[in-house]
C-alpha cells in the first residue's frame, strides 16, 4: 500500500515537473484536449465542435495533437476528465459546455502552465478564458427569411431555457422577421431542456396547431426539422445544416463554424500570443453562418438577406440598433444607438412581437 502511494506521488511529481519545464522550441507538438458533454454524433452542437477540431488539426498539422473526450457528465466526472487531460500534458484544453465552468476553473488553478478555454461561461483566470459566439447575428438573418416566408404571420420558437444567451437569439430573430414584415408574431414555447427530441417534437406540433407555419428552435436535436417535414411546414435549423432531414421544409439554419476559430486560438497558444481576454466572436470573424437558403426562398429575399449579411460583417449594421421596444412597448434601445455588450450579457426581456412569458 505504502509503496503504491509513493509510486503515485512520484508519478504526480513527474507530471508536474514535465509541465513546469519550458516547452521545447519546435519538436514537441502541442497536445490539445476537447471535452464534450455529449457523444459526437452526426449533427448538432458537439458534432460542429468536432468538425472544427478536425479542421484545426488539418491546418496546424504536426504542431498539434488533439484528444477528444466525449459524453462527459457534469460535476465530479468532468473534474476528473479535465484534470486527467492536464496531467497527461495537454497544454490547451477546450471545455465546450457551460456546465463545465467550475471544474475548468478548478483545474486551471491546479495547472497554471496549461491554457484553458471554456465555452459560454463567465468565470476566468490568468490561464483560462471564456469564448462565445454572437448567435443573434445569423439569427437576425434567419428571422428575415422566416419573416418573408410566413403566410400566417405567426412563427414559432422552441426554446430551451430563458437565459440571456437564448433571449438574444430569439430577440435577434424576431427583429429580423419584423424588419421584413412588421406584423409578424413570434410564439415561444420552452421545453426545459437543451436536448429532448420527444418534447421538441411535441412543442413543434403544438405550435403548428396554433397556426404557426414556420418553427425555429434553440435546442439541439433534429426533432423540430423532422416535425416540420412531416407536417408539411417550414423550419429554421439550429447548430447544424439539417437540410437532408428537411429537404422540403428547411428554409435555412443558424450554424457555428468552429474550424478557423480553433485554428486561430490554438495557433495563438503555440506562438505565445494568447491572452485571457474573453472572446465574443461574430460573423465578421467567420465563426457563424446561415446555411444555404432553401429552394423555396425567392431570389429577392435571398438578395435582401445577402445585403444585410454584408452590412453585419462590415460592422455597419447591428441587429440590436434602436429604436427597439420590449413586449410592454417600453423603449429599451433608443433610436440611433446600439445595445451595449453588457446589456446583451444580461438580457432578460423579449422584444415587441414575441409572445411568451419570462420568469420574474
Amino acid at each position: 500500500m505504502l509503496r503504491y502511494l509513493l509510486h503515485s506521488i512520484a508519478a504526480l511529481l513527474a507530471a508536474y515537473g514535465l509541465l513546469g519545464a519550458p516547452t521545447g522550441a519546435v519538436a514537441e507538438p502541442l497536445k490539445v484536449g476537447f471535452v464534450y458533454f455529449s457523444p459526437v454524433g452526426e449533427t448538432g452542437w458537439t458534432a460542429e465542435h468536432d468538425k472544427g477540431r478536425r479542421v484545426m488539426e488539418e491546418a496546424l498539422g504536426d504542431a498539434v495533437s488533439a484528444t477528444i473526450v466525449e459524453n462527459v457528465a457534469y460535476g465530479p466526472d468532468a473534474l476528473r476528465v479535465i484534470r486527467q487531460l492536464a496531467a497527461d500534458g495537454h497544454g490547451l484544453v477546450y471545455t465546450t459546455s457551460f456546465g463545465f465552468m467550475d471544474q475548468t476553473l478548478e483545474v486551471a488553478g491546479l495547472y497554471p502552465d496549461a491554457t484553458f478555454m471554456h465555452l459560454d461561461g463567465y468565470k476566468s483566470a490568468d490561464n483560462m478564458a471564456t469564448y462565445s459566439l454572437r448567435y443573434y447575428e445569423p439569427s437576425y438573418l434567419a428571422g428575415m427569411v422566416a419573416g418573408a416566408m410566413t403566410k400566417t404571420g405567426t412563427i414559432g420558437y422552441v426554446s430551451s431555457f430563458p437565459l440571456p444567451a437564448v433571449l438574444q437569439i430569439i430577440n435577434g430573430f424576431a427583429l429580423g422577421a419584423r424588419a421584413m414584415n412588421p406584423d409578424v408574431v413570434v410564439k415561444v414555447i420552452e421545453v426545459n431542456s437543451w436536448y429532448d427530441p420527444g418534447r421538441e417534437r411535441e412543442a413543434s406540433d403544438a405550435l403548428f396547431a396554433q397556426g404557426v407555419d414556420i418553427v425555429a428552435h434553440v435546442t439541439d436535436s433534429t426533432a423540430p426539422t423532422l416535425a416540420a417535414q412531416k407536417a408539411g411546414k417550414m423550419v429554421i435549423g439550429f447548430h447544424s445544416d439539417r437540410a437532408q432531414f428537411g429537404p422540403d421544409s428547411q428554409l435555412t439554419a443558424v450554424i457555428p463554424v468552429w474550424g478557423d476559430f480553433y485554428t486561430r486560438v490554438t495557433g495563438s497558444v503555440i506562438d505565445g500570443t494568447w491572452t485571457n481576454a474573453p472572446m465574443w466572436d461574430s460573423m465578421a470573424q467567420g465563426v457563424l453562418a446561415i446555411a444555404p437558403l432553401g429552394p423555396m426562398v425567392p431570389q429577392d429575399v435571398v438578395a435582401q438577406v445577402e445585403a444585410r449579411q454584408a452590412e453585419i460583417v462590415a460592422g455597419t449594421f447591428h441587429p440590436f440598433q434602436g429604436p427597439v421596444r420590449d413586449q410592454s412597448g417600453t423603449e429599451r434601445i433608443a433610436a440611433g444607438t446600439v445595445i451595449p455588450d453588457a446589456d446583451l450579457y444580461s438580457m432578460n426581456w423579449y422584444v415587441e412581437g414575441v409572445e411568451g412569458t419570462l420568469p420574474e
Binding site: S38, P39, V40, G41, E42, T43, G44, T46, A47, K187, I189, E190, N192, Y195, D196, P197, G198, R201, E202, A203, D205, A206, L207, F208, A209, Q210, G211, S221, T222, A223, T225, L226, Q229, K230, A231, G232, R242, Q244, F245, D248, E355, G356, T357, P359
Partner: protein, 307 residues
C-alpha cells in the same frame, strides 16, 4: 373551422403521445394478470427503443426495426422470467435490476447512433380520405402503429375476459395451486405472459425512437415505463381504464405546451411534471373503490409459485 382543425390536431397529438403507454401497459397487464409483477418495463422499453432504432437506421426499414425492438423486449423479459420463475428470485428486486440493466444496455447499443436521424416523409395525402377534411385529417394524422395498438387493445380485452386461454391465465394469476392441480402449466403460462409484456414494452420503445421523434437518445423513455406500470395498478387491472389513463397522460403532455402559450404564468417546470401527477391523481380517485380493487387484483400477484 379553424377551431375544429385545432381540436383535431390536438387529438392526433394526444393519441400519438398516448400510444407508447397503451402498448407498454397492455403488455404489463397481461403479465400481472398471470401473477407476475415486472417492474422492468422502463428498461425493456429502452432496450426496445435502441435496438429498433439501430436496426431501422441500418436497414432503412421501420417495420423491421419495430419487429426487432419487440424481440429485444421479449428477450429482456425472458431473462427476468428465468430469474423470477425458474430461480424464484424476488420479482420486485429483479424488476428494478432489469430497469437499471436496460438503461445501461440501451445506452451501449445506441452509442453509435447518437445524433443520427431517420428520414421522414412529408404529410400523407390519400385522394378520397384527404378530401373528407376533418375525419380525413384525423385518420391520416395517426401513425399506423397507433391503429395496431387499438386493435391490440380489443384483442387483449377479448382474450382476458372472453377466451378460454384468457380464463386460464387469470386462474394462474389468482389461484396457481388450483390451476396446477387441474393440470395447467403455471410456469409455462407465466413465461408466455411475461414475454408478451416484454415484446409490448419493446414495441412501445420502438414507437418512441422510430416513429415519434425519430431519434435515439439515452434514457429517452423519460419515465414512461414507470407510468405504464403505475397505470396498470391504478387502473385496477382494467384494460379500458388503462386506455383512458394513457389518453389522459397524452392529453396533458400535449396540453402543457398550449397552457404555456396561454401566458398563465405557470412555471414550465411545473407543467413538465403535470402529466405524471395528473394521470396518477385521476386514476387513484376513480379507482378508490376498495371492493373493486380487491375483486380485480390478481390474488397471487408477485407470489412465487413452486410446482
Amino acid at each position: 373551422m379553424a377551431e375544429i382543425n385545432f381540436i383535431v390536431i390536438l387529438l392526433i397529438a394526444t393519441v400519438t403521445a398516448a400510444t407508447p403507454l397503451m402498448l407498454a401497459s397492455l403488455g404489463e397487464l397481461v403479465a400481472e394478470r398471470s401473477g407476475v409483477l415486472n417492474l422492468g418495463v422502463e428498461g425493456m422499453m429502452l432496450v426496445g427503443a435502441s435496438v429498433a432504432f439501430a436496426v431501422a437506421a441500418s436497414s432503412g426499414s421501420l417495420l423491421l426495426g419495430t419487429v426487432c425492438g419487440a424481440l429485444a423486449g421479449a428477450l429482456m423479459s425472458l431473462v427476468f422470467a428465468f430469474l423470477t420463475l425458474s430461480c424464484m428470485a424476488n420479482q420486485v428486486a429483479t424488476g428494478l435490476a432489469l430497469t437499471i440493466f436496460g438503461i445501461g444496455v440501451s445506452a451501449y447499443i445506441g452509442s453509435g447512433f447518437t445524433g443520427v436521424s431517420l428520414e421522414v416523409s412529408g404529410p400523407l395525402v390519400v385522394p378520397f380520405i384527404s378530401d373528407v377534411t376533418i375525419l380525413g385529417t384525423f385518420l391520416l394524422g395517426l401513425e399506423p402503429l397507433t391503429y395496431v395498438t387499438i386493435v391490440l387493445f380489443f384483442c387483449v380485452r377479448w382474450f382476458l375476459y372472453k377466451s378460454r386461454p384468457g380464463l386460464m391465465l387469470r386462474a394462474v394469476g389468482d389461484v396457481p395451486d388450483a390451476a396446477h392441480a387441474i393440470g395447467f402449466s403455471v410456469l409455462g403460462v407465466r413465461y408466455l405472459a411475461v414475454m408478451f409484456g416484454g415484446a409490448m414494452a419493446g414495441v412501445a420503445g420502438a414507437f418512441l425512437s422510430v416513429y415519434y421523434t425519430p431519434v435515439w437518445v439515452e434514457n429517452m423513455t423519460a419515465g414512461r415505463g414507470w407510468i405504464a406500470v403505475a397505470l396498470v395498478v391504478f387502473a385496477a387491472w382494467n384494460p379500458t381504464r388503462i386506455m383512458f389513463g394513457a389518453l389522459l397522460f397524452g392529453g396533458v403532455t400535449i396540453l402543457q405546451f398550449h397552457i404555456q402559450s396561454a401566458n398563465l404564468g405557470i412555471p414550465t417546470q411545473f407543467l413538465t411534471m403535470l402529466p405524471y401527477a395528473a394521470t396518477i391523481a385521476v386514476l387513484v380517485i376513480i379507482s378508490s373503490d376498495r371492493a373493486r380493487i380487491l375483486l380485480n387484483t390478481p390474488a397471487s400477484l408477485a407470489v412465487p409459485f413452486r410446482p
